[in-house]
């Protein structure tokens, strides 16, 4: 069967204190470690010598979780292409480094939002239910902390099933934006909440927000360094 035991699990993946609220952005080295781990695991599972007899069926899943899975698989493929996992075949795919970084950034960002819903997902004898009040409260905090409104609307719109009896996404939209999903979409220039332009705008906004945050962090770090240098100089001159 699989050779999972031969592969060292990256420390970040082993960290039990890796909850959404304490999560930080991964370093390039940590990302490469995880891709290498996923790559070896996936290769082992793909090359197990036994044929598998599976039962095929259909199921409804959250669009967001499906997107997240695809991004991980895409990352593996790009990792191979870039040589992250030991191969170098960059021919004809020159735009990949930029695209890869963008996928990584948007994927991590959307994962945090998706996890809000996942954390408040519960099972009972009637199936899955969501604590809409807690989801709305967490998203409200995120909005206050500068998470773009369209990203939260996009994740909410794509994370719930909705029927006549249960419509959690409308409840969250109502609580956050005082509008139905389609009303919110029209107010923001989209045809409906299913408009494909929403996803593109969300990704653009996430990249822009991330770049602004990185710029601010580097500016703060520069100011702190300068402050420390001035303080050292003053101490050297006999000041306190």
């Amino acid at each position: 069967m699989s050779k999972d035991n031969d592969i060292e699990i990256p420390s970040y993946m082993n960290n039990t204190n890796n909850s959404r609220k304490t999560r930080r952005r991964l370093s390039p080295e940590e990302r490469a470690q995880i891709i290498r781990y996923d790559f070896e695991n996936t290769k082992n599972h793909s090359r197990d010598t036994k044929p598998i007899h599976a039962k095929k069926s259909k199921k409804k899943v959250s669009k967001m979780s499906d997107v997240k899975r695809m991004r991980i698989a895409f990352g593996l493929g790009v990792g191979v292409t870039l040589g992250v996992v030991g191969f170098a075949n960059k021919d004809n795919i020159v735009e990949i480094p930029q695209k890869f970084e963008e996928w990584q950034i948007t994927s991590e960002y959307l994962s945090d939002l998706y996890d809000v819903i996942h954390e408040h997902e519960h099972e009972n004898s009637n199936g899955t239910w969501y604590d809409v009040g807690d989801i709305s409260a967490d998203f409200q905090d995120m909005l206050k902390n500068g998470v773009p409104e369209d990203a939260i609307a996009y994740v909410t719109a794509n994370s719930f099933s909705y029927t006549y009896e249960t419509d959690e996404r409308s409840a969250v939209f109502s609580s956050l934006f005082n509008a139905t999903p389609d009303e919110w979409a029209k107010q923001h220039g989209y045809d409906s909440i299913e408009d494909e332009n929403l996803e593109k705008d969300v990704e653009r906004n996430i990249l822009r927000t991330t770049k602004i945050n990185e710029y601010n962090q580097s500016l703060n770090s520069m100011l702190e360094d300068t402050g420390n240098q001035i303080e050292s100089s003053m101490k050297g001159m006999g000041g306190k």
Binding site: T42, A54, K58, D66, L76
Partner: protein, 74 residues
């Protein structure tokens, strides 16, 4: 929500992420880091064959990347 194909074996559900040629790209419904690529048996859609070599595994991954990049561009 989105309707997807599920392959169930070893008491686990694997979501079909994509199918390119005979290659199925599968991801464990409960664990994003448990993935595999398998080939469909020409005589039985529910029999999933292992890949034959590391080269075939790389080839399948590159097929996925190329397809997704083309989709992004369109």
């Amino acid at each position: 929500m989105k309707e997807v194909d599920i392959y169930t074996f070893d008491d686990k559900n694997y979501v079909l992420l994509d199918r390119i040629e005979d290659y199925l790209f599968l991801s464990n419904e409960k664990n994003d880091h448990d993935m595999m690529i398998r080939k469909v048996d020409a005589d039985d859609e529910e029999t999933l064959l292992p890949l034959e070599s590391d080269e075939e595994f790389e080839k399948a991954l590159l097929l996925l990347v190329t397809k997704k990049l083309k989709e992004e561009e369109s």
